[in-house]
């Protein structure tokens, strides 16, 4: 019986190689440009509105469904014009956007300046409850459509104005020289009029202008994307379509991949990292993604934030053997971090290995000395908080604690502190209830060094969970944003980053890779810097 099954699969494989349309693998035997690829998916947490999609599962769909002014190159991460013909400014505050002609949505409606302006106005308006609304905060008039308290006093952003079908202007409320490079983010995608006319209908079967259109959507189980044959862009689908199949668990998806029931997975479960090379061989993908993991300190807690404690924080950083943990726990799917950005930025984009200096290098003796000089661990015991419900955080938190304990020669110096749910974890962080360092992961919104620094460490910034505040850092970030060109901006951001190296408000742990795998049926599977598969480039056979 098992032999027979194996023989049958071998025959199927041969048939597939011969480019014959066979009935193997449950009718998915077609090859070439019309064949459909199945890929793992998780239930998106929000309705599929672009300005409401803030997690990777919804992001996968939008990457196939919509194209905006810019797109991040799947390999380099560079922001490249797609619908934008040009975006010009003279003062880094007033921008004029000119669209390329010939783009339509898959329902035939042309993509015009209005498609963008309406979509952005929708995303910014408070009563639409779009979770990405803050992405529009740099546009003039944001505080009217999205006040901190009370009802909005305007329905549209005063900084947006349509000039003609292919032109609109944007006025920002501050200088922001790299603003155009943020426009590849999902929140800035255009929307057809049907989105506003028949909202429920659009959500049931979204319509966009990307290389794929939605064929059918069985909520909670499968979303069938099919190639849109009249797609005008330069990156059309090289397969017939993608079936995004909802999996309850990454382990399950991986098992299905092994059994040949699923073509592409984009997350290898921690439990299989040790086997994946033998299971998949060259069909295992492990490449850098724009994600950095850190341990943030509650700087609002005087026991951690008081002057002099930077010695203890730096000492703890030096007590962590990053090399060993990334090797033994993560099987090289993480890379030890030596700055606060990500390798996907590239050196030109601001990633500077070693910027952290000796503070990010494992040195037990020096670590002991620094911690002692700084007055020791507050309260004698270090707890590292993490949420227990997602990710396999326990394994690495325990490993980090063991590394610190071994350095200090005290088995009880550091323990993990699991918090039951992510919601509870976030609430404790928001309520400033953390009493020790806590897990902090940052996935970039767009590949700019600004995105790794400003939201996280600028005084009172939206994701500054540790409430770090340093006037010098803030001043350098302001200068960088106003800098006339990218090179100078990057240099200023790196100067700001050096302040982090001295103050150590968060310990950089490692850069996270995107990991994935695929079956022999498909080829050309890669991940983009956001660790999302580049679906349109996948070929079959």
């Amino acid at each position: 019986m098992p032999t027979a099954a194996r023989v049958q699969r071998a025959v199927c494989l041969a048939g597939a190689l011969a480019l014959a349309a066979t009935a193997c693998g449950g009718g998915r035997g077609a090859t070439g440009g019309s064949a459909v690829v199945s890929a793992s998916w998780g239930d998106p947490q929000n309705p599929l509105e672009p300005a409401n999609t803030n997690e990777v599962q919804g992001g996968k769909v939008l990457e196939m469904l919509l194209r905006g002014l810019k797109r991040y190159n799947p390999r380099t991460g560079a922001a490249e014009n797609v619908l934008a013909e040009k975006i010009v400014t003279t003062d880094a505050r007033h921008y004029t956007v000119r669209l390329r002609p010939g783009w339509t949505f898959s329902n035939g409606e042309p993509v015009t300046a209005k498609s963008f302006v309406d979509a952005w106005n929708y995303g910014a308006l408070l009563t639409n409850k779009q979770k990405n609304a803050p992405f529009f905060q740099y546009i003039d008039g944001f505080e009217k459509v999205h006040p901190d308290k009370g009802a909005p006093t305007a329905k549209t952003l005063s900084g947006l104005s349509v000039k003609d079908d292919r032109t609109f202007t944007v006025t920002l409320n501050q200088k922001f020289s790299t603003w155009p490079d943020t426009l590849g983010y999902a929140a800035f995608m255009p929307l057809p009029q049907s989105f506003f006319r028949d909202h429920a209908g659009w959500l049931a079967q979204p319509v966009g202008n990307g290389p794929y259109r939605v064929d059918s959507y069985d909520k909670g189980t499968v979303l069938r994307m099919r190639k849109w044959t009249r797609y005008p862009g330069s990156d059309p689908a090289r397969n017939g379509g993608i079936d995004l199949r909802v999996y309850t668990d990454t382990d399950t998806a991986y098992t299905d991949l092994q059994a040949g029931n699923l073509d592409v997975v984009d997350d290898i479960p921690a439990s299989q990292l040790k086997n994946v090379r033998t299971d998949l061989g060259k069909r295992y993908i492990n490449q850098p993604a724009g994600i950095i993991q850190t341990l943030a300190f509650p700087m609002y807690d005087p026991r951690w934030g008081r002057p002099g404690m930077e010695k203890v924080r730096r000492g703890l950083s030096m007590a962590i053997d990053r090399e060993q943990i990334t090797r033994e726990i993560f099987q090289h799917t993480r890379t030890p971090a030596t700055d606060w950005t990500s390798p996907v930025l590239g050196e030109k984009g601001g990633h500077k290995p070693g910027l952290c200096g000796e503070a990010c290098v494992f040195a037990p003796a020096k670590a002991r000395q620094l911690i002692k000089e700084g007055g020791g661990i507050p309260g004698g015991r270090l707890t590292i908080a993490y949420n227990a419900d997602t990710g396999s955080h326990k394994d690495w938190v325990d490993a980090v604690c063991n590394s610190i304990n071994n350095t200090l020669g005290n088995d009880r110096a550091c323990v993990g502190n699991p918090v039951g749910t992510f919601a509870d974890f976030r609430n404790k962080i928001s309520a400033r209830q953390m009493t020790g360092p806590f897990r902090s992961g940052w996935q970039m919104d767009y590949p700019l060094i600004q995105n790794f620094l400003q939201p996280l460490y600028y005084t009172n910034a939206s994701s500054n969970d540790g409430k770090f505040s340093d006037p010098g850092f803030d001043a350098l970030v302001n200068q960088a944003n106003a800098a006339p060109d990218t090179r100078q901006a990057v240099a200023l951001f790196q100067d700001a980053e050096r302040i982090l190296a001295r103050k150590m408000p968060s310990i950089p742990l490692w850069y996270q890779n995107g990991s994935g795998g695929y079956t022999e049926r498909v080829r050309n599977v890669t991940l983009n810097p956001f660790s999302v598969p580049v679906y349109n480039e996948i070929t079959v056979g």
Partner: protein, 307 residues
């Protein structure tokens, strides 16, 4: 009898109110769910406030609960956080889980009672020891491991079974998950049957039946088994609800989008409409299962009567 059933059905009303309130309170006690909707990013306060307002979360508990119950009586079980109505989730999840549970219960009954009868009649023999060892394995190896191993061996290596269940949940693909789900309960059913059988095998009426010269088969099925089943039936009755709500691990391993999975998501995202809605239905299932068990007592043991 009829009055007894009606009384039991009426008792469902206070249980319904009590359990919905308890669950509502518990989800409430978990804290504010809105922050988690924004991922690792700190929520925008204005948007978060707007979401709280729309979900009625900005009200005190004593207003939230009546508001929720009022909606339920209009057939509105609320909205899950991904924008789908809870009734839609329930309509999709309950039939799947019900099927899975029925398969598990059938396996428990057939395999569990059979093994229990054999080991109970042959105490101390090799079959009894084998069953004991299997019991120990099932109890001490987590479902996650046994489920994963069965899936890997039968689904990936041998290719005897589909490793995951298709969305249409065909019956043949549900057998393996049904077995995994039944494993732990199987241990209980087997041991309970074994004990009852061993105990009753010495009862006077069995000696009488044997002395009368009745065929062994008939003695075992009509006299011995029937009188040994009450603890087993009780256990299975309590187990139905537990299987339906507690299949979280099994459903995850085999990619079944059932009650356990939805409940798990609902709890982790602290979405009270999802959790309260699902648990309410589960409690009703309990009540009905227990009622049926109580009625079965009278069938199995005619001396038991209900007024």
């Amino acid at each position: 009898m009829g009055r007894y059933v009606i009384r039991r059905l009426l008792q469902m009303i206070p249980v319904f109110i009590g359990s919905t309130f308890l669950i509502f309170l518990m989800v409430y006690a978990l804290g504010d769910p809105v922050a988690a909707m924004f991922g690792e990013r700190a929520p925008d306060p204005a948007t978060a406030a707007q979401i709280r307002h729309d979900l009625y979360l900005d009200q005190p508990l004593w207003k939230q609960y009546p508001h929720y119950m009022g909606q339920i009586f209009q057939g509105n079980f609320g909205i899950a956080f991904n924008g789908r109505p809870v009734t839609e989730l329930m309509a999709a999840a309950f039939p799947v889980t019900l099927r899975l549970t029925l398969i598990a219960v059938v396996i428990e009954m057939v395999v569990g009672i059979a093994l229990g009868v054999f080991s109970g009649l042959r105490r101390g023999r090799s079959i009894d020891t084998t069953v004991l060892v299997l019991t120990l394995i099932v109890v001490s190896v987590p479902t996650f491991v046994s489920g994963y191993l069965l899936q890997f061996v039968f689904g990936v290596k041998l290719e005897w079974a589909a490793p995951t269940v298709a969305f249409e949940t065909p019956l043949n693909e549900m057998l393996l998950p049904g077995l995994v789900l039944a494993l732990v309960s199987l241990a209980y059913v087997t041991r309970l049957t074994r004990t009852s059988i061993a105990e009753n095998a010495r009862a006077d009426y069995i000696r009488t039946a044997v002395a009368k010269g009745l065929p062994r088969r008939r003695v075992i099925t009509r006299h011995l088994l029937r009188n040994s089943l009450i603890p087993v039936v009780t256990f299975i009755g309590t187990d139905i609800g537990a299987l339906m709500g507690g299949a979280i691990v099994t459903e995850r391993i085999f990619n079944i989008h059932g009650v356990g999975f939805q409940l798990y998501q609902g709890i982790l995202r602290q979405n009270s409409p999802t959790v309260v809605g699902f648990v309410t239905i589960l409690v009703l299932v309990f009540l009905i299962a227990n009622l049926l068990v109580d009625l079965l007592y009278a069938v199995l043991d005619p001396r038991i009567r209900y007024a």
